[in-house]
Amino acid sequence: MNIFKLSIKNIFNKPLSSTISLALLILGVGIISLLLQLNSLIKNQMNNNLKGIDMVVGAKGSPLQLILSSVYHVDSPTGNISYKEAEEISKNKMVGSSIKLLYGDNYKGFRIVGAEKKYIELYGAVFKKGNGWNKPFEVVVGSKVSKELKINLGDEFVSSHGLRENGESHDHKSFKVVGLLESSNSVIDQLIITSPTSVWNIHDDHDHLNDDEHQHNEKEITAMLIKFKSPMNIIQFPRLINEKTNLQAAVPSYEISRLFKLFGFGIETLSYLAYIIIIVSGFSLFINLFNSMNDRKYEMALIRILGGSRLQLSKMIIFESLILTISGFLLGLLFSRLGVILVSSLMEESINYDLNSFNILTDEYWLLILSVLIGLVASLIPVIQVYKMNISKILSDE
């Protein structure tokens, strides 16, 4: 027997009130930690996809839309731009490297992107099977696409027009799979990549009568990803393009931080709510301890009579409080992890779950400190009562 064991026995002796404080703390810590985890998961995922892309050039429209469609492949493109104009920009001496992208078709909901081969290198994707394309209509398939559609080397398929699954089929020409990629935890996992020529060809052969926008007198692309020679150019160059040409230049890191600010507001509100829950749990803990002080005054007097010091009684109370807050913190963390697994499986489309994020985030250490602090504050007044306790009076009142 020791004071720590005594505290545990005391907690289990009052399961109802202990459970209420514990449940509140688990809820509060769980929500905050879940928000932190999802936030960092999404940020990591988004930043992972931004590697090596300083600027995106595309048709005029919403800059966020341009970034979402050309970098993350989640929105419709803003339109097409002339190949010639893009080529001119890519020759500018401030541009280090550029990748032209064409997209607008899909196969069973997965986007087909016409790109130069270095697009695959940009994300550091490695071939699991096969190689890159050599001829038009040969495609390389991202890991998630091959897994979900059970595509293998040598398979052939027909694409659909548009970005949604049930678009009109280009059934006069089929694609052949020549390469499968390993997972790279980036957007390329969910893409089908082919040469730009394939995409041009499939649309040139169109014989829609009333289709003005598909008059390809001149070659067009959808967007171009650019990396600068010097990071300094990121301030100057986009402005130049936006002012001097009829193209649009957007800086992904800027647009994404703008996006985070937008939904960051929701996260903030929710986390304030969770902090309030944590504080309420602190109050509930305090009230439990405070009430139990009166119920337990005889047993505390007894412990003092047996020779127990005020310090030992204080330890008993502080342990009781800390055991609850720390286990509340740990269980909250556990629940947030289960939450992350749940949410990421619901959002399979846009988030590839990465086990690395089971790491404890810096902010979660702060949450631990907060929990411990709440435990200490809740036990403060009961501890003061222990020091003021008049054993003789308690025993004479019986």
Binding site: M1, L6, N10, N13, R296, E299, L302, G307, G308, L395
Partner: protein, 207 residues
């Protein structure tokens, strides 16, 4: 050796108590008898070091406890004094055995063998793993005697141990206390208003 001299105590200068001197030699027991309101419990608390006297001195086993600080008193109490209360008190979340283990832990005297022998001696060994609030009144009283003697105190103080008992049980409890004191070489001071106890003690003081 238990000696008090000109012991006085006052609650907030309103109630004032003046106590007869006590002088006990080794192995001597004492009955302190008095009506309610004469300061019996106050005297017991003074002897246990739970209250500080306003004047006078208490000497227990060669130590003047009136000059000790409250931390020193805690220490002195756990090594020398066991108290049997009018109503038994326990830590309710613990079993009988765990209560005794806690008492030993506080006094730094871990000894399971001692727990066993005390419980057997008091005939409640079969209740060792019961929670204290599941015990009968008699069992509770015996368990509280176990708590008082578990750390082999030199002095056992008992506060109204027989107040709510019939004659038969009264005799049984007081014999039990005397037997425990004798077996564990402790001195016994019983404080009561119950004149039935007089016949069990050679030495008594009336307050």
């Amino acid at each position: 050796m238990i000696k008090t001299k000109k012991l006085e105590f006052s609650y907030n200068n309103q109630e004032f108590f003046k106590f007869h001197d006590i002088n006990l030699k080794k192995k001597e027991n004492l009955l302190i008898i008095g009506k309610s309101g004469v300061g019996k419990t106050t005297l017991l608390h003074l002897l246990a070091g739970l209250l500080k006297s306003s004047s006078g001195s208490i000497e227990l086993f060669g130590k003047n406890i009136t000059s000790l600080s409250s931390d020193e008193l805690d220490k002195f109490r756990k090594n020398n004094i066991g108290i049997v209360f009018q109503r038994p008190h326990f830590v309710n979340s613990l079993t009988v055995k765990e209560n005794l283990q806690l008492a030993q832990y506080i006094a730094n005297k871990k000894n399971n063998f001692r727990i066993e022998s005390v419980l057997k001696n008091l005939n409640i060994f079969d209740k060792a793993y019961n929670k204290t609030n599941s015990l009968s009144q008699g069992e509770k009283q015996r368990a509280s005697i176990a708590m008082a003697i578990i750390n082999s105190p030199k002095l056992i103080l008992a506060d109204e141990p027989s107040s709510s008992l019939d004659d038969e049980n009264c005799t049984r409890v007081i014999k039990l206390l005397k037997k425990q004191a004798r077996e564990f070489e402790a001195q016994l001071i019983v404080i009561t208003h119950d004149s039935r106890l007089k016949k069990h003690f050679e030495k008594s003081i009336e307050l």
